[in-house]
Assembly symmetry: C2
Homo-oligomer: 374 residues x 2
């Protein structure tokens, strides 16, 4: 069984509409991948994800290697059999989490030695170990192990991490074995265009079936991010999927698609839902606000999602205030539908060569809504 393949089927400016074929089905791009950290999108069952149009999930290597353990997942048949999600999975490399969650990190050329944030046990995450974990998990797409410097790191630190990410990408590729899993490279380099160029050129030279842009959405300005995306887009091969990791707001995603990005993941729609923040076509809505207590309208009167079809703001606010778990479920379903539906509309606009029109209309509507409130 081969890994993934990718075709760009339509272009409008630099925006692309394509198709990613994986061992577990096809995915139309640009695509948003809901985050299923521990092998489950928080608060939503798989079948509800399918119903609202989720096609590919992201799962976190760092979390799963610690619990329930990658060898256990492998013995149970891999992530698909273990979780029951029969569509494609992508696993991240563990790099981002080991730099943001793990205790007592020691970073060296070999990899990162750390202690689990769960039980303090000692672990090593290296390119070779990340490949072993990701092959055990068995996602359709695995990511090369990368070093993620903090957003405020000085240039020298970013330069060091970028060079190491390239060396680790080489080791990742050498260690990766599974033919039914595709390994993507990750471009680092912070907001430094020369480092981004160096990173992108080195990875393209190594050759991967897909490329991610890491190290963004870590506090950089929007112009900085746009410059990085412009730079990287020009260097990456046009026939390979491009994945912007951990981004972002609806506006961020629209802007990145305009710069040729095909794949996204972000915890924003799911995490915000659990905190009572809803994305709507009329702007964001905080369900905690007392003005919703007597409001019989759905969160978004124009939204056809299962939540807006059945639940009022008053009911959602009540469930949220009463700490009922179904509050998180209903609001996560809505927020993910909002994101997935936006991706559908965006794909269609690209295929109809109306992306720019759709883009400005959407951004203006979102901006107006922010000012007006909903």
């Amino acid at each position: 069984m081969a890994g993934v393949s990718f075709v760009v089927e339509a272009r409008d400016g630099r925006a692309r509409a394509g198709r990613l074929t994986t061992p577990h089905g096809e995915v139309e791009t640009p695509v948003f991948m809901p985050v299923g950290t521990a092998g489950a999108v928080k608060a939503v069952l798989h079948r509800d994800l399918r119903e609202i149009g989720a096609r590919i999930l992201l799962a976190n290597t760092y979390h799963l290697m610690l619990r329930p353990g990658d060898a256990r997942v492998a013995a149970l048949g891999g992530l698909h059999a273990f979780t029951g999600w029969d569509g494609p999975f992508l696993t991240d490399s563990g790099g981002y989490q080991v730099f943001s969650l793990a205790a007592l990190r020691e970073v060296g050329e070999e990899g990162v030695r750390f202690r689990s944030h769960l039980d303090g046990s000692a672990h090593l995450l290296s390119p070779e170990r990340s490949m072993e974990v990701q092959e055990n998990l068995g996602a359709d797409i695995a990511m090369a192990f990368d070093e993620c410097p903090p957003g405020d790191a000085p240039r020298e630190a970013v330069a060091g991490a970028t060079a190491r990410t390239t060396r680790w990408a080489r080791r990742s590729r050498a260690a990766h074995r599974r033919a039914d899993q595709s390994l993507f490279g990750i471009v680092q380099g912070g907001v430094h265009l020369d480092l981004r160029e160096e990173s992108a050129r080195a990875l393209v030279e190594l050759g991967f079936p897909g490329y991610a842009v890491g190290g963004l959405s870590v506090g950089e300005t929007r112009p900085d991010r746009e410059r990085v995306l412009d730079q990287v887009e020009a260097l990456l091969p046009a026939d390979r999927p491009r994945y912007l990791m951990g981004v972002g707001t609806p506006e961020d995603i629209v802007d990145a698609v305009a710069r040729g990005v095909d794949m996204f993941d972000c915890v924003l729609p799911t995490r915000n839902a659990r905190n009572g923040q809803l994305f709507t076509s009329r702007g964001r809505l905080s369900i905690r606000n007392a003005r919703h207590a007597d409001d019989p309208r759905p969160p978004d009167p124009d939204c056809p999602c299962p939540t807006c079809r059945t639940a009022s703001r008053a009911y959602l606010r009540h469930l949220h205030q009463a700490n009922e778990m179904t509050a998180a479920t209903l609001m996560t379903v809505h927020n993910l539908f909002f994101y997935l539906d936006m991706m559908r509309a965006m794909r269609q606009s690209i295929r109809l060569c109306r992306f720019e029109e759709w883009r400005w209309e959407t951004l203006r509507r979102l901006a107006d809504a922010e000012q007006i409130g909903s």
Copy 2:
């Protein structure tokens, strides 16, 4: 719109199979009502409840009067419109919770003055106020306001509470106005057969469209409970539904149906699910147990519920250990399916005049399973 009506359609011994017709649809009895304390069954969406066969939900007057407030629910169209559950609802009287949850209770002939366990605000719950709250909530079935003495109360205390419950039942009936809502009386009397008789005769004299047995499942022995049910069954009119409040285990329910009970509610299947305890045809299963960590089998290989069709013990254990909300959802769906499916089988066995056979087979299977483990 009339309230509920009830027909007994089949009998086998004292067990009855019937049909409860409500303003929001028909319900076959014996029936189990999942508990939706705050207007939502914890962790499960309405449509999943419908899919597994739930037909009528219980909601708690005490909780809803405090949050979001019964006047607010009324302004939003009542419980059905507010929650989106379009099947029948039953609300309890608030009596049980005010005696078990509220702070600084003062019980007098007028009612119970107490402070909210949420914010310390002062409230009165009386027969008249309970009727007002329940009419505001607008369930298909309301319950008369009763005094629930603790399970270990001395006989004199139980006698006083029983007599007061009768006086409060009279006041409840006098205060109750809504024609589209049926008011059931509650028989009290603890484990004292003479008090139970006194209570049942007085309530039947008042005349209600249905009768509940309260004050059981509060620590009494099984023989004591069986004696009370035998006693009460003989005194209640055969053409009215009988509701055993807050009971119980699968075995408890089977035994009560054998004694002519038609309706049940209990938090056991939902609460146990959230704690990782599953009911199966092969006995109870604690998903926390480490032996499930590598087990690819569903919780109950013979169970056709949505959870057992898709999730392994290993995955459920992982989700539970990782504090994923979907663990609660998946396990609640299974436990409620187990209860609701047992009720279906029981109804069928009564209609086929094979209830006793079914009963002993079921009880033996459950007992064997407890010994063997699963």
